[in-house]
C-alpha cells in the first residue's frame, strides 16, 4: 500500500470512529428510552464500537485499499438504514444519521453517494418490514440532548477532512498541470531545435551545389573572356549572381531559425533527471526497462537552461529505450549517472541494447544521420547544439557491459559563493 492510500485509510478510519461513536450515543438514547431487543443492542454495540476497527484492518489488508474503503462506506450506510428502522424513525436521530452517512460520501462522487443511499433505503425498508416497526417519529428531550454532539461535531469533522482532501486533490491537479506545461515546453524546444537543425543541415547541403554552380558559371566566363556572345555572357553572370542570392536566402533562414536567448540557472542535474523520468515513466514501464540511478548528492549544481537540458535528457533516454526494444534483449537496463570533474558536471546515459556501430560513430552527431527506419536523424544533432549552447559537449562510446553510453558535460556552478 502506498503512502497516499495509507493516509486516506487513516483519515476515513478516524472519521468513522468519531462519527459512529457519536451516532452510537444518539441511537442508544432512543433504544434506552423506547426499550430495544438484545439483538438490536448487540448490533448497535458491534457496529458503533467494533466495526470501525474491523473496517480499517480490512482496508489495510486489501490489495486495493481504495476499493475496500468504498465497500466499507456502503456497509456504513446499509447499517445506518437498519438503525433508522430499529429506532422506529425517531425524527432527529434518523435525520442526523442519514445526513452523517451522506456527508462523508460527497467527496467520493455523486453516483457513489446515490448507491450508498439506495443501500441505506433498502436495508431500512427490509428491517421495517421484518420488525413491523410502528412509526414513532417524535423525539423526546433526552434524545435531543444525546444527539447534539452528532449534530454539532460531525459536520465540523467532515468539513475538516473534506477540506484537506480537497487541498490534496488541488495539489495533485497542479502537479499534473505542471507536468503538462513541461511537456509542452519540451515539445516547443524540440520543434524549434528541429527547425534550427534542419535549417543548419539544409544550409550545409544546399551551399555545396550553389558553390559549384557559381564557380562553373564563372569558369566559363574566365575561360572565354572575349569569345562569348554578349547575351551568353549576361546569362552566365546572372547564374553566378543568383546562386549567391540563393545562398543568402539559405543563410537568412538559418538565422531566423536560431534559438532564442537561453535562461541559465543553477540546477542539480539529478533533479532534472527525476523530472524527465516522471514524464517518461509510462513509456519506460511499457518497454520493460529497469532504471538505475547513480546520482550522488555531492555532485555540484550545473549552470544550465533547465528546459534545454531536459530536452537533451529526453532525447538521450528515448534513444536508449529505443535501442532496447529488440525482443532478443533479455536485460533492459537504463543507467543514468552523474559525477563532477574539473568544473563540469558529467551526465552519462547507458543502455543494454545493441550498441553503436563504429562506422556510424564518427558521424553520429551530424544532422540527417539516422539508423531508424522513420527517423529524421536530428535528435543527437539537436542534443549537441543544445549542450554546446550551454557551454558543454556531448560524446558517445561503447558501454563496458555492452550497449551504448552517451554522455554530456555542462559547466558546474563555481564552488566559492559569489556576491
Amino acid at each position: 500500500m502506498d503512502e497516499r492510500e495509507l493516509r486516506l485509510s487513516r483519515q476515513v478510519y478516524r472519521l468513522r470512529t468519531f462519527g459512529l461513536a457519536l451516532g452510537f450515543l444518539s441511537v442508544a438514547s432512543v433504544f434506552y428510552e423506547r426499550g430495544a431487543s438484545r439483538a438490536a443492542w448487540g448490533l448497535l454495540a458491534a457496529h458503533g464500537l467494533v466495526w470501525p476497527h474491523v473496517a480499517f484492518y480490512r482496508a489495510r489488508a486489501s490489495a486495493d485499499p481504495h476499493r475496500a474503503e468504498r465497500a466499507n462506506l456502503v456497509v456504513d450506510s446499509a447499517m445506518g438504514g437498519i438503525f433508522v428502522a430499529l429506532m422506529a424513525f425517531a425524527l432527529l436521530p434518523s435525520v442526523l444519521l442519514v445526513a452523517m452517512l451522506s456527508m462523508d460520501k460527497i467527496g467520493w462522487g455523486w453516483r457513489f453517494l446515490a448507491r450508498a443511499c439506495a443501500a441505506m433505503a433498502v436495508t431500512c425498508a427490509i428491517t421495517a418490514l421484518l420488525t413491523g416497526a410502528s412509526l414513532r417519529p417524535n423525539t423526546s428531550m433526552p434524545v435531543l440532548v444525546a444527539s447534539i454532539p452528532l449534530m454539532v461535531a460531525y459536520p465540523f469533522a467532515v468539513a475538516f477532512v473534506s477540506e484537506r482532501s480537497g487541498r490534496m486533490a488541488r495539489e495533485r491537479k497542479k502537479a499534473v498541470e505542471q507536468t503538462a506545461e513541461l511537456r509542452e515546453q519540451l515539445a516547443h524546444i524540440a520543434r524549434v531545435g528541429t527547425l534550427g537543425e534542419m535549417a543548419a543541415g539544409l544550409a550545409h547541403e544546399l551551399n555545396q551545389p550553389l558553390t559549384a554552380i557559381h564557380l562553373e558559371a564563372n569558369t566559363v566566363m574566365e575561360l572565354n573572356p572575349a569569345g562569348l556572345p554578349e547575351d551568353v555572357q549576361e546569362s552566365l553572370s546572372r547564374i553566378g549572381e543568383q546562386s549567391l542570392r540563393a545562398g543568402e536566402i539559405v543563410r537568412r533562414m538559418r538565422t531566423f531559425a536560431r534559438r532564442g536567448q537561453a535562461h541559465r540557472e543553477a540546477i542539480h542535474v539529478g533533479q532534472l533527471v527525476h523530472e524527465v523520468l516522471a514524464l517518461l515513466d509510462h513509456d519506460l514501464r511499457l518497454g520493460g526497462v529497469d532504471t538505475m540511478l547513480l546520482l550522488p548528492e555531492t555532485v555540484p549544481p550545473a549552470l544550465v537552461d533547465r528546459i534545454e537540458i531536459q530536452q537533451v535528457l529526453v532525447n538521450l533516454i528515448r534513444n536508449a529505450m529505443e535501442a532496447m526494444t529488440a525482443p532478443a534483449i533479455a536485460e533492459r537496463r537504463l543507467t543514468i549517472g552523474a559525477d563532477a570533474a574539473n568544473g563540469h558536471v558529467r551526465v552519462s546515459i547507458s543502455d543494454t541494447g545493441g550498441g553503436v556501430d563504429p562506422a556510424v560513430l564518427a558521424r553520429l552527431f551530424h544532422p540527417f544521420q539516422t539508423t531508424k527506419a522513420d527517423g529524421l536523424g536530428l535528435g543527437l544533432s539537436i542534443c549537441q547544439s543544445l549542450v554546446e549552447a550551454n557551454g558543454g559537449r556531448v560524446g558517445a562510446g561503447p558501454h563496458p557491459q555492452g550497449g551504448a553510453m552517451f554522455f554530456f558535460e555542462v559547466p558546474s556552478v563555481p564552488a566559492q559563493p559569489h556576491s
Binding site: 543548419a200 547541403e205 555545396q208 558553390t211 559549384a212 557559381h214 564557380l215 564563372n218 569558369t219 543563410r251
Partner: protein, 125 residues
C-alpha cells in the same frame, strides 16, 4: 629548396562537385591546383610539405578541416590556409581564432572574394 614561381593551391573538400568546379576555376584564373577528398588523403600524399596554399573545407567526415589545421600546427608546418565552410558555427570560429589564416570563405562565396584572398596569399608569398 627551390622556391616555386607559381606554387599550387591544394583543394581539400569532401564534396566532389565543389572540388571539381574549384579546380576548373583555379586553372581558368591561372592557379595550378590539386584536389583531395579528405584531410587524411592530403596528409598521406606527397603534397604534404610542398610550398602551396590550402583551400580547406571545415566540415568533413572523419578528420575535419580544423583537425587538419591543428595537426599541421602540431607538426610545426606553416601552411598558408584559406578556410571554406558550408555554414559557420561559433564554436568552429572560436577554435580557428588561434591560427593565422589568410581568410575565411562562407559557401557559396563569389569568385571575386576567392580571387582577393588568393592575390593576398601571392603578395605575401
Amino acid at each position: 629548396m627551390n622556391p616555386n614561381p607559381n606554387p599550387p593551391v591544394f583543394v581539400i573538400d569532401d564534396e566532389e562537385p565543389v572540388r571539381v568546379s574549384l579546380a576548373k576555376l583555379l586553372r581558368a584564373i591561372g592557379f595550378p591546383s590539386r584536389t583531395f577528398g579528405s584531410a587524411m588523403a592530403f596528409l598521406a600524399s606527397d603534397a604534404l610539405g610542398e610550398d602551396a596554399c590550402l583551400l580547406l573545407d571545415l566540415r568533413m567526415p572523419g578528420m575535419s578541416g580544423i583537425d587538419l589545421i591543428e595537426e599541421l600546427a602540431r607538426r610545426q608546418m606553416d601552411v598558408p590556409t584559406i578556410v571554406m565552410t558550408g555554414h559557420t558555427d561559433m564554436k568552429s570560429v572560436q577554435r580557428l581564432e588561434a591560427f593565422p589564416l589568410i581568410g575565411f570563405l562562407e559557401k557559396p562565396f563569389s569568385v571575386t572574394q576567392l580571387k582577393e584572398l588568393l592575390d593576398l596569399w601571392r603578395s605575401v608569398a
